[in-house]
Amino acid sequence: MLASSACITTLHVTTPGTVAVDAAAPPFTLPAQDGHAIALADELAHGPMVALVFYRGYW
């Protein structure tokens, strides 16, 4: 009963993320909205910290 009820309000996670606190952030390069490729390493060079905000998209 409790396990099935979890599906009502929780997002159904098929693949949980694998990174952990204190581990090295895996490098990546992705295209930005203006078409330029942005690398995590470049952003890290700019300031004390980078906040990666993962979201479900604009709708």
């Binding site: 309000t9 993320g17 090295a24 910290m49 980078v50 906040a51 990666l52 998209g57 604009y58």
Partner: protein, 243 residues
């Protein structure tokens, strides 16, 4: 401090979004979901799982919070406080990840019933042997650590007008911290029967960051006999001001 937003939206969609809401940060396209899969996770409908990951200047991950429920989003104030702590000036470094329910104070209300197993003590009311009983409990539990809570609980049952118990609860988190298997016990005192001891096992499940359900089996040992009760309860989860 740089903010980077990542989703599966195409650069064209992101351009519309950024322009419409005047977003001052960059929106990245994770078309195949590879980065999302690594950092936050992916839902069954192949969408990015909402989450925030803070990466320090040295490339190490300082903080990670992923939403496992629709209302499990950090408030802006919580995020700023976390950033503040992570950058190193106020309080301990933020190191916890995952579900916040486990860190919250619980105000629990439980109802149930069971049996009084032996009633042949000096305070027994007439009949000996086991008979049915009902119980209501109201308790406050404060998490000291991920695996330990302490609390106080008031019990009212068929054989005791009012008893108060002190409780220590050991818990093993389940379901990425949204639930726990619990083992609790402690001494108590009842108005009618004096000292008592309680012990129990339970399954706790946070339906949302703000409320939970719990199912427990509890034994109450007191002078007229041992009571074994099964209870189902609901709890309000309150953010502790010191956390």
């Amino acid at each position: 401090m740089t903010v980077v937003a990542i989703s599966k939206d195409t650069p064209e969609d992101s351009r519309v979004f950024a322009a419409a809401d005047h977003l001052p940060f960059v929106l990245l396209t994770d078309a195949d979901g590879a980065v999302s899969r690594t950092y936050s996770g992916v839902t069954s409908d192949s969408n990015t799982l909402p989450g925030i990951v803070l990466v320090r200047h040295d490339g190490r991950i300082a903080f990670r919070q992923v939403a496992t429920a629709k209302d499990d989003r950090m408030s802006t104030a919580e995020l700023f406080a976390t950033i503040d702590r992570t950058l190193g000036t106020h309080g301990p470094a933020a190191d916890h990840a995952g579900y916040v329910a486990l860190d919250r104070v619980q105000l629990r209300f439980d109802l149930g019933g069971g049996a009084l197993l032996a009633s042949d003590g000096p305070h027994a009311r007439g009949a000996t042997g086991s008979r049915g009983t009902g119980i209501g409990m109201l308790g406050m539990h404060v998490p000291l650590a991920r695996y330990l809570m302490i609390g106080a609980r008031a019990d009212i049952d068929r054989d005791e007008v009012l008893a108060v118990d002190a409780l220590a609860t050991l818990r093993a988190p389940l379901w990425r911290g949204a639930g726990a298997l619990e083992l609790s016990g402690g001494p108590g005192y009842g108005i009618e029967h004096g000292t008592q001891a309680t012990g129990g096992v339970g399954l706790w499940f946070a339906w949302a960051p703000t409320w939970s359900l719990q199912l427990s089996a509890t034994a109450i040992v007191r002078d007229p006999g041992t009571e074994l009760v099964f209870t189902l309860g609901i709890a309000s989860l309150i953010r502790a001001p010191w956390r």
